[in-house]
């Protein structure tokens, strides 16, 4: 392509739009459904239950240690589908692009999406691009929508969790949030923390093996582990009690959070899952999880309790219980 930056004309719907789609997206994502260039994707899924999820991705910077907005946009929706118990199959991707974005950036993002999709075994089958004037967006925003197939016997819902069930988290929490935070103006510090951004397709084997013993799953993205646990507690009408000492947090993340007055339990994750499972299977699930790449630090962090309904308690280092609330307002560094 002659122009190295996105122009308003790339959003015109005319030849330059076609060229952009062909040379950037189709080139990276080549598959027959996408190439048919219809108004939508047409496919045959057979029968059975489907899961569908959508998510929009806005992140600064577009490229960050451990990932980029493209990888994030695929992982985010894929992980949401997995949390529903589904095997992700198809994704759509819609782009709102700021005039002036280097096309090389867009290529890099498209390539990253293709690689991640390949890793997940999903196809990017339909998409859209719009261009907005310079200053009206932050580089590029991406929305992805995904469809997945739910195998027989899998039914993950908060309503299925019961007192006594164990709460498992698949690895250390807070790394993504910290990696992004460290890029902000006004916070110049260097951290070895990388975004944990990853597709959780490795969980499929565990989901198949333990079927109904897994009651429910949730990926703790924005708002972090604490907020996700609170959502499940509220939706299930059960209580959840976790032990502070059992929650895996890397010393790097803990140290940076202490410095900035932030709490790792409220920092975003992009490659972790919270699994609620029947108590008798928890140990087996945990040892299976720990054999999966990136899940070596998986841990049982607590259990479901009947009361207080809808609330999350955390047992502190001193052995007292306190409320672990949801994120209130914006999670920003503080000095006090």
């Amino acid at each position: 392509m002659k122009n190295e930056r996105i122009l308003m004309a790339h959003g015109s719907g005319g030849r330059m739009s076609q060229q952009l789609i062909k040379e950037v997206f189709q080139a990276a994502w080549n598959n027959e459904i996408m190439e048919s260039m219809l108004d939508g994707a047409v496919f045959d899924l057979g029968t059975g239950r489907l899961a569908m999820s959508t998510d929009s991705f806005v992140i600064t910077p577009l490229f960050f240690p451990g990932g980029d907005i493209g990888k994030l946009a695929v992982c985010g929706t894929v992980n949401d589908l997995i949390a529903c118990g589904a095997r992700p199959v198809y994704l759509s991707a819609a782009f709102i692009i700021e005039e002036g974005l280097p096309i090389s950036d867009l290529r890099r993002i498209a390539r990253s999406m293709a690689e991640t999709a390949m890793e997940c075994g999903v196809k990017l089958v339909t998409g859209d691009t719009k261009v907005v004037e310079r200053g009206k967006a932050d580089g590029v925003y991406i929305n992805t929508t995904g469809i997945g197939l739910i195998p027989e016997g899998i039914d993950y819902r908060p309503a299925r969790i019961k007192p006594g069930d164990k709460v498992i988290v698949t690895g250390q929490v807070g790394d993504h949030g910290l990696a992004i935070l460290a890029q902000r103006e006004g916070l110049s510090f260097g951290t070895p923390a990388l975004s944990d951004c990853a597709p959780l397709v490795g969980l499929e084997g565990i989901m198949n093996r333990y079927g109904g013993s897994i009651r429910c799953m949730r990926d703790p993205t924005r708002g972090g582990l604490a907020t996700a646990l609170n959502e499940i507690a509220a939706q299930s009408g059960r209580g959840i009690r976790v032990r502070e000492a059992d929650i895996p947090i890397s010393p790097v993340v803990q140290g940076a959070c202490d410095m900035l007055g932030m709490d790792p339990l409220y920092m975003a994750n992009e490659g972790k899952m919270i699994i609620f499972a029947a108590s008798e299977c928890a140990a087996d699930i945990l040892s299976d999880l720990r054999r999966l790449p990136g899940m070596e630090n998986a841990a049982v962090i607590g259990s479901v309790i009947p009361e207080p309904a809808g609330m999350v308690l955390i047992e502190t280092e001193l052995g007292a219980d306190r409320i672990l609330g949801i994120l209130e307002g914006e999670h920003i560094p503080r000095i006090c």
Binding site: F189, G190, T191, V252, Q254, G255, A256, M259, C336
Partner: protein
């Protein structure tokens, strides 16, 4: 009222600046308030400044003594 974390000085720079390590995180801070600090020492960091040099060995013993006195006093 004032968050502070310990960090280890790993490099001294010009103009009273130093690089500290906090559990593997690196940050440039000012050591103007602890001008005598040296590489390898731990400092208490607040708002991007070293506020005080940390002496981990201070105190332990006196506390042990006090506890024994109080426990003995209860018997």
């Amino acid at each position: 009222m004032c968050l502070g974390v310990p960090g280890r000085i790993i490099e001294m720079k010009e103009n009273y600046r130093a690089i500290v390590d906090v559990n593997g995180n690196r940050m440039e801070i000012s050591v103007r308030l602890t001008p005598e600090v040296q590489v390898g020492q731990y400092v208490l960091i607040h708002a991007g400044f070293a506020m005080e040099i940390i002496d981990e060995d201070a105190a332990r013993e006196t506390m042990q003594l006090l506890l024994e006195v109080m426990e003995y006093g209860q018997l």
